[in-house]
Amino acid sequence: MEKSWGKELYKYRYLYILLLPTVLFYVLFQYLPMYGVLLAFKEFHIKEGILRSPWVGWDNFAVLLKQSEFWQAFRNTVVISLGRIVFEFPAAIVLALLINEVAGRKAKRFYQTVFTFPHFISWVIISGILFNFLGSDGVLNQILAAFGAGKEAFLTNPGLFKAIVFLSNIWKEVGWSAIIYLAAIAGINPELYEAAYMDGANRFQQLLAVTWPSIRGTAAILLILAVGNAMNGNFDQIFNLYNPGVYSTGDIIDTYVYRSAFADGSGFGVSTAIGLFKAALNFALLYTANFAVKRLGGEGLV
């Protein structure tokens, strides 16, 4: 048995050598840093480092569960993540299908470029743009004023914050996310379309009978990944858009951790505890989504 394993290894040595950097990358940057989660059960002393800091058991978690702001952030994270899956996830599929229907290579390229471009703008800049749009003297308020309506504080209104988050993220990312679907669509055998055409299917029927079934597998895998990422909530975006006025609906776990660890200085231990808590939830969600997709007859990840 052992001998055959060695034989196998020798036989495919080139592939293993090429695999090595990736394995080492994961060990170095993904697995080794994991010892940092020990901090969740420790009181961090900067000079002594992570390993030599004293143990405190579950104290950090106890502190966490007592904080009402944490539960608020937890609730917001769940709601925002659900909203992302409901609103943002299908947006990319719809866009890919639409772009695919555009006639003419040049027009297709043009639309794809236009929709992809915002992905490369950072959130800092987008927050500035949004401020000019939605501020008290912003474009939107000026339009409203032209119709005789009063000024509205869009950016500090907790009821509107989530809508702004979803819409701005769709605007920024939808083109980029559509690329993977467009690639899947490009891989569809044209004979399928020809056969459908011969059977008398119109374009919409072709879309339903050929295009969608062909990219469903891709969509399922991306959905699993999106669910597994659900507790992350996109720190970059929220951090650049939020303000104390919308903490009640916009503060997510990541931004809360950031404020409590760095700005308020309430300690790395508690922040790591939150991080660990979040990671455990993400892990559970990923498995649930994977299980659900498999049960529904799709191909899962694991």
Binding site: I17, F29, I46, G135, D137, A153, P244, A263, D264, S266
Partner: protein, 558 residues
């Protein structure tokens, strides 16, 4: 043959990828086991620049060339041009200064991250003693920062500072771990660190007199927002804007003095932080009223520091909450306002609004502990470097240093005769001498490294008149004198702000964020504030901190 070639190129490829991966983590210093090449390049290149005087004798304290890294807000840009001032400092003290950038929005986070990663610079600019004494204690306890030598007699100017009265609270177990950055030589001059600029031309146009209570103040700002004070027929103005929230808080000084300077006060026999006081009820009610009436800039919560000033400069706001000193300079309030209103004199249109007396009849003025922020020395700095740093600080605090910051480099920017009379020789731009900051972009930072020197701004000297303009200087001096003559400093327990007790150290509360939240909300402000204090602050250990501080103060008979 072909196979060995393939094997060779495959392993070469993987080695290449690997080494690029490894060099990425190499800069993280510390356990240099990962990569020898990366750690070699991160070691200081001291040998590269030879010491100025190679044949120096052993007792020359400047014999050895040293690299000193220092952090400062925006130092990257200011040190980009290696100007003559930096060159002179580096030559005189035989050092190379390595700038490490921090920003006003993120310096606390950056310092925390560097502390955790062991990457603090040699000279650390931070604000812990006043703003988060718990973190200061933490840093002292964990040995992150260097204690200054007990005997500072070799550095007389530093020693003088270390012996100042309100610096005594910075000592921990008899040792000083920070060089406080003095803003003013005493707590009185802080009066000019708050000012409400107001458009007197708008007041005249709308027939408004100086407000004598909060309701009149609110009515005035409301009129600015609603009654088209600039006469352009559009509703495009607002009441009051702020540089940062801290300046705006001074508006509530008559309502609740300690709210302005975030102090502790005695209420019902207990020492409590301002946010736990009953007087907050009225503050949040009034603040909400300002916001609802449109008297307060509706965007205040989303604007970044300094952003809203533009509204005042561009005639879109009737009042600006800032401080007195910021009026002067090429980017000061006056210059910026006149840039946006060409051909008009700032003083014909703007004045400083004096607040009204509080309910007990006393007119209060802002005060604070006489320093804000501090320089700390990295614990990894050796004795030789510590000595060099302290020598630099001693010079920065000396009269010679002051002369350079006021007049520039002797022989180039000014001359001094035998009697000590100074003649400025640097070129003029219009009526005023060219700003030293233009010639030496680093001068602001170098001159403020050891002390803010805000008071030098208010000295009635030829240099100040030349740089700021006589009218600007007079405006500021008049305001300072008015405050000192007419108002009384807010009663402030300075000892508590630097006091360290176990529960108080753990108490980290950002009341400004919650204050903002209450202003913006539509719910009842008083009930909201009570909920925040009772529910949230108490769960963070407020009551234990109050008990400990009260016990501590009782011991001292307070």
């Amino acid at each position: 043959m072909r196979k060995t070639k393939l094997l060779g190129s495959a392993s070469l490829l993987s080695v290449l990828i690997l080494s690029s991966v490894l060099s990425g983590c190499g800069s993280n210093s510390g356990d240099g086991s990962a990569s020898s090449s990366a750690s070699a390049s991160s070691s200081p290149s001291a040998s590269g620049s030879a010491p100025a005087s190679a044949s120096a004798s052993a007792d020359n304290p400047y014999a050895e060339h040293l690299d000193i890294s220092l952090s400062w807000w925006g130092i990257g840009v200011a040190f980009e041009k290696h100007d003559e001032l930096i060159q002179k400092l580096e030559k005189d003290f035989n050092v190379t200064l390595k700038p490490v950038d921090i920003g006003w929005d993120n310096y606390k986070e950056k310092n925390q991250v560097w502390a955790a990663a062991g990457q603090l610079p040699d000279i650390i600019s931070n604000s812990l003693v006043n703003d988060s004494p718990a973190t200061y204690n933490d840093w002292v306890k964990q040995g992150l920062i260097h204690a200054l030598p007990d005997d500072l007699s070799a550095y007389p100017n530093v020693e003088k500072l270390a012996k100042a009265e309100d610096v005594q609270g910075v000592y921990r177990d008899g040792k000083l771990y920070a060089i406080p950055r003095m803003t003013y030589p005493n707590t009185d001059m802080w009066a000019v660190d708050r000012a409400i600029y107001v458009r007197k031309d708008w007041m005249d146009k709308l027939g408004i007199k100086d407000p004598t209570n909060f309701q009149e103040f609110d009515a005035m700002l409301k009129a600015f927002a609603n009654q088209d004070p600039d006469g352009n027929g559009k509703k495009d103005t607002t009441g009051i804007v702020m540089n940062t929230l801290g300046y705006f808080k001074s508006v509530f000084m008559p309502t609740f003095p300690q709210f302005d300077n975030s102090g502790w006060l005695k209420e019902d026999g207990k020492w409590i932080p301002y946010y736990a006081s009953k007087q907050m009820d009225q503050v949040v009610t009034q603040a909400r009223q300002l916001y609802q009436d449109g008297a307060l800039d509706p965007d205040f919560a989303v604007e970044k520091a300094g952003e809203a000033n533009q509204k005042f400069y561009q005639n879109q706001a009737g009042a600006l909450a800032f401080n007195v000193g910021s009026i002067s300079g090429p980017t000061g309030i006056k210059a910026e306002w006149e840039k946006n209103n060409p051909g008009q004199n700032f003083f014909d249109h703007v004045k400083i609004l004096h607040l009204w007396p509080s309910t007990d009849g006393t007119l209060y003025r802002h005060t604070s502990i006489s320093f804000w922020s501090e320089s700390m020395i990295n614990a990894d700095v050796d004795d030789k470097k510590l000595d060099r740093i302290l020598r630099i600080y001693d010079w920065l605090l000396s009269p010679e240093g002051k002369e350079m910051f006021d007049y520039g480099i002797e022989g180039k920017d000014y001359t001094k005769d035998a009697s000590g009379k100074i003649t400025i020789t640097r070129p003029k731009d219009g009526d005023n001498y060219i700003d030293l900051k233009k010639e030496y972009p680093s001068i602001e930072i170098i001159s403020q490294l050891a002390a803010w020197r805000d008071s030098s701004h208010f000295e009635d000297t030829d240099a100040n008149r030349a740089v700021q303009g006589a009218d600007v200087l007079k405006f500021q001096l008049d305001e300072l004198n008015w405050q000192l003559d007419n108002a009384k400093a807010i009663p402030t327990a300075f000892d508590i702000s630097t006091m360290s007790t176990p529960a108080k150290d753990k108490l980290t509360i950002n009341a400004d964020d919650d204050f903002t939240k209450v202003i913006l909300s539509k719910q009842d402000p008083v009930a909201m504030w009570h909920d925040i204090v009772k529910g949230y602050y108490d769960s963070k250990g407020l009551q234990a901190a109050v008990d400990e501080v009260t016990a501590n103060e009782a011991q001292q008979g307070k």
